[in-house]
């Protein structure tokens, strides 16, 4: 476990040394905040309600680009620089290595999200904000980011080109987001099945302020599966040498 923590710290720190993380973070905060407050403060003749729903509604789309931008380098960069082989020689279990990188990236997303806490604090100063859905929204966002990261890491492990990792991850996430719509084209049963498989559906369930065991299990299974696939790929690299 200490191995995981060491890798987590190293990975987390590395984000703050990378200009890409700042650019991506600044864009996420700037554009997200601007869109949210423009909508919230739009003059409709009556005062708006203190709710964060519309902000959390934007995040699945934002994260579709933000998270792959963070995950693309996790393995692809190591492979390109040739440091992956070096990493594999360390007396660290592959899964610890993966979990360390995964948690490090997730912590960076959490820091970006923490910076958006300005928004609910502002809303709470203006009206009677219900903190329950806000808490649910942040939890749902973190879980969504975790699932996107797990998928992005797996795809990053398959290539040494970061751009390819980014594009493939974005494409797969877009497909996942639109799963229900795709399912509807095939048939209603498929729409239901695809909806169950889509991270976005479970996101909206938690984001409204309801923590359901089934949603938590879904995210656990989703992350677990892709992290497991990731470990298989790395083990293969290890074997191949």
């Amino acid at each position: 476990m200490s191995d995981t923590l060491v890798i987590l710290k190293r990975e987390f720190r590395s984000y703050f040394l990378s200009p890409i993380a700042y650019v991506v973070g600044a864009l996420f905060l700037g554009i997200g905040g601007w869109l949210f407050f423009e909508g919230l403060f739009f003059d409709t003749g009556q005062a708006a309600e203190a709710k964060m729903e519309s902000y959390f509604g934007l995040l699945p789309l934002f994260f579709m680009v933000l998270v792959p931008a963070l995950s693309m380098r996790l393995w692809a960069e190591e492979r390109k620089l040739g440091t992956l082989e070096l990493l594999m020689t360390f007396p660290v279990k592959t899964m610890h290595l993966i979990l360390g990188k995964f948690c490090g990236a997730l912590c960076f997303v959490a820091v970006l999200l923490a910076l958006t806490l300005f928004y609910p604090v502002t809303l709470a100063s203006l009206g009677n904000l219900d903190w329950g859905p806000v808490l649910g929204g942040y939890l749902a966002t973190l879980l969504l980011a975790a699932s996107y990261l797990a998928l992005g890491m797996f795809i990053s492990s398959l290539t040494q080109d970061q751009i390819i990792a980014l594009l493939v991850t974005v494409s797969v996430l877009l497909l996942l987001i639109l799963m229900r719509q795709v399912g509807m084209l095939i048939g209603p049963w498929w729409a239901e099945v695809f909806a169950i498989a889509s991270p976005r559906e479970h996101f909206s369930s938690i984001a409204r302020g309801v923590i359901d065991l089934r949603d938590m299990l879904y995210y656990g299974a989703f992350c677990g599966f892709f992290l497991y696939l990731n470990s298989l790929v790395l083990e293969a690299k290890k074997q191949v040498g």
Partner: protein, 713 residues
């Protein structure tokens, strides 16, 4: 390279087949876990109002179950994609009923599309399939969707929901029905509501003014909950004795006989709810707001409704109420027409339409007076706009009213009656006689009211009162009103109605203890005789006979007279009952609920319907169901800046709001970005410093080595 020297791939070392099997196995296990737990509903609802959980009302009702309640949900699995989320919510909610029922609720899901027997059974129960559009196959088609349910309690009582409309309305439909199945009886309510404004004849206007000035929408959810009858006493009979509640919605043109029936209903211990108005304004898209003809009393009425209310301890001043608190006022949407098309010409705050907010105004006394020494005195006179502790209002956060009227407790309440004011305007309330036209954008309209506010003492105008006790009859000591359908007979009987006017207490009166006063006078005997005669008529119900209150105890004549005999008049309430008077009826009016014309914000979610249904439940003693509606009415409206109510214009206020919005936008959008960039800059600076130090150290080390090297040389 020999075969043994070549690097083996992972697939080769483990076998491709094995690898795939392992991956599929892991995936299968995960899917299996998700499948097995799909019906396990362990949830934590974080919302303050418990929006996605069963309300405490439902839990209380489910706790009363003594026998098994079986819920058969007829839900077809094949549904269009757009219904998937809604269906999930319905299933979740039904699951919650099962869990909250602690073994007493059995839940069965049936798909009529899978089995013809189930389909036939559903059809027999009256559950109908809906035809829903489906575009799943890429082309438009119609799909048959079943979404109904049946509840059976104790094996013999049942209730069927033919079509579940949506998940959000399901709880408020099911819980009262379960309550009814458990109790085995529905409260009985009579309603009197008279529309005066005709529905628009112009099709365009009719479309714009959906619903019109009636009260039909709010009566729909009542249909399943209560036994509802329309108040009709034109046949000369009193209201039914088993009536739990009489609701008068905007009473107008009340005849003396109707007033007598209302009075006797209260005397018998029946509850009374009055939604009182003082004026009726024409609502249309043009917003002319011209006052319609409006009379509380019928033209030939000898008794005033206002006096009758006063007899019960309610003072209806007949004044219109305005509230000049900015946060309370509702916008009036001024509609203009360009090229024949309606366009929004402006939004004007309108003080005759306002929200009653849960604010304790005594806390703001110091801000409402120029002289600080007057604040404590003012604070004593002010209080909360909404009584937060009353079961009818608990949890209600805002109630919209439209052209309300002042309703207060009388200075001296009748003996044995206690009362309370439950709703008030803000501390910036004003009263006035209803103007002929109440157009908000007329020149000087707002300024006139604002000037008055500056000069008049600050006060909260009472808008709703509730009284409880044994009420005295308004008709005590008064002649009996004319009973419908009796005039001809009366004349034939020698002008007996005239006798009612001169006879004073002539109708068969009761003493305060409720016992019939039979003094055995000649008049009583005459009445008895006449009553007997009336009773001999073959069809007394179809043709009411004889005057109700003939001279010298003629009331008893009718009392004993046959099928339509009139019960003895009660002069003092026999049982304790409740009377509630609200100074507005428009808060549940169809057009205001739907937000049409100049009042474009729908009122349905604004506490009005919830208040009305709470009142019905409270007055029919169904307190368990009150929380069912109040849980979703927390006010979360944002206030950007507090307004200086007396010292600034609307424009100045709007400018301050805009400035605050700009500031908040700037802080929230740029603040986090600046923080992140600043942190990045600090990190970069630190790294540069570390790098320089490191290089300096290396350089120093190199220099040192040079010196050593040079020295050695």
């Amino acid at each position: 390279m020999t075969k043994t020297e070549r690097k083996l791939s992972y697939a080769e070392t483990h076998g491709t087949g094995n690898l795939l099997v392992t991956i599929l196995l892991v995936l299968g296990i995960l899917v299996e876990i998700l499948y097995l737990t799909k019906d396990v509903s362990i949830r934590l609802d974080l919302t303050e109002e418990g929006l996605y959980s069963l309300s405490p009302s439902t839990k209380k009702v489910l706790n009363k179950l003594e026998q098994p309640l079986v819920i058969e949900a007829y839900l077809s699995k094949k549904i269009p994609g757009f219904m998937v989320e809604e269906r999930k919510k319905i299933r979740n909610l039904l699951d919650e009923y099962k869990q909250a029922g602690r073994g007493k609720v059995k839940l069965v899901f049936l798909d009529p599309l899978e089995d013809q027997t189930i389909r036939d059974k559903a059809a027999r129960l009256g559950i109908q399939a809906s035809q829903m559009p489906d575009v799943s196959s890429g082309s438009f088609s119609v799909m048959e969707v079943w979404q109904g349910l049946r509840m059976t309690y104790g094996g013999d009582k049942q209730y069927v929901v033919q079509v579940i409309p949506n998940a959000s309305a399901l709880e408020s439909t099911l819980t009262p029905k379960i309550q009814e199945l458990v109790l085995g009886r529905r409260p009985k309510i009579a309603i009197l509501s008279r529309k005066t404004q005709p529905a628009p004849t112009n099709p365009f206007m009719a479309q714009q003014q959906r619903g019109g000035p009636g009260w039909d929408l709010v009566q729909r959810p009542m249909q399943g909950r209560f036994d509802i009858v329309q108040m009709d006493v034109s046949d000369g009979k009193l209201l039914p004795e088993d009536l739990d509640l009489l609701v008068l919605i905007e009473p107008k043109k009340l005849t003396d006989w109707e007033k007598y029936c209302i009075d006797q209903h209260v005397m018998r211990g029946g509850n009374l709810l009055v939604l009182e108005d003082v004026a009726d304004y024409q609502v249309d898209n043009f917003g002319s707001f011209m006052r319609n003809s409006f009379d509380l009393d019928a033209a030939d009425s000898a008794y005033k409704w206002k006096d009758q209310l006063a007899a019960y301890g309610v003072e209806a001043s007949g004044k219109l109420v305005a509230d000049l608190l900015q946060q309370a006022m509702l916008p009036y949407y001024k509609i203009g027409y360009q090229m024949g098309q309606p366009t929004l010409a402006g939004i004007v705050p309108y003080p005759y339409w306002f929200r009653i907010l849960p604010v304790d105004w005594s806390e703001y006394a110091s801000k409402l007076v120029d002289d600080p020494s007057a604040a404590p005195e003012l604070a004593k006179r002010l209080g909360p706009s909404i009584d937060p502790k009353h079961p009818v209002l608990e949890g209600l956060q805002k109630i919209r009213v439209f052209w309300p009227t002042e309703v207060n407790l009388a200075e001296k309440l009748p003996e044995g009656v206690e009362g309370k004011v439950l709703l008030r305007s803000s501390a910036l309330g004003l009263v006035e006689d209803p103007p002929q036209s109440a157009v908000p954008d007329a020149p000087g309209f707002f300024k006139g009211l604002a000037d008055r506010l500056k000069n008049e003492p600050k006060r909260q105008i009472p808008l709703m009162v509730a009284l409880k006790g044994k009420f005295p009859s308004f008709f005590k000591g008064k002649p009996m009103p004319e009973r419908p359908g009796q005039e001809k007979e009366s004349d034939e009987n020698g002008g007996l109605l005239q006798g009612t006017e001169t006879g004073g207490d002539a109708p068969a009166a009761q003493d305060s203890g409720g016992k019939t006063g039979k003094s055995g006078t000649a008049g009583d005997q005459a009445g008895e005789k006449a009553g007997d005669q009336a009773g001999e008529k073959p069809d007394a119900n179809a043709a009411p006979q004889g005057p109700p209150a003939p001279e010298g105890g003629a009331g008893e004549q009718a009392e004993k007279g046959g099928k339509d005999e009139l019960p003895a008049r009660i002069d003092q309430g026999e049982k304790e009952c409740r009377v509630v008077v609200v100074g507005d009826s428009s808060f549940i009016r169809d057009d205001f609920l739907q937000g049409v014309g100049p009042a474009r914000q729908p009122n349905s979610g604004q506490g009005g319907p919830a208040l009305f249904m709470n009142l019905l439940d409270w007055l029919t003693m169904d307190l368990d169901l009150v929380e069912l509606r109040t849980q979703r009415t927390v006010d979360r409206t944002m206030t950007y800046v507090s307004q200086d109510f007396l010292g600034e214009s609307q424009e100045e206020y709007k400018e301050r709001v805009a400035a605050k919005k700009t500031l908040l936008r700037f802080l929230n959008v740029l603040g986090p970005v600046i923080l992140l960039v600043a942190f990045g800059f600090l990190t970069w600076s630190k790294r540069i410093g570390e790098k320089r130090r490191f290089l300096a150290e290396v350089q120093a080390d190199l220099d040192k080595r040079e010196v050593v090297k040079g020295g050695a040389k």
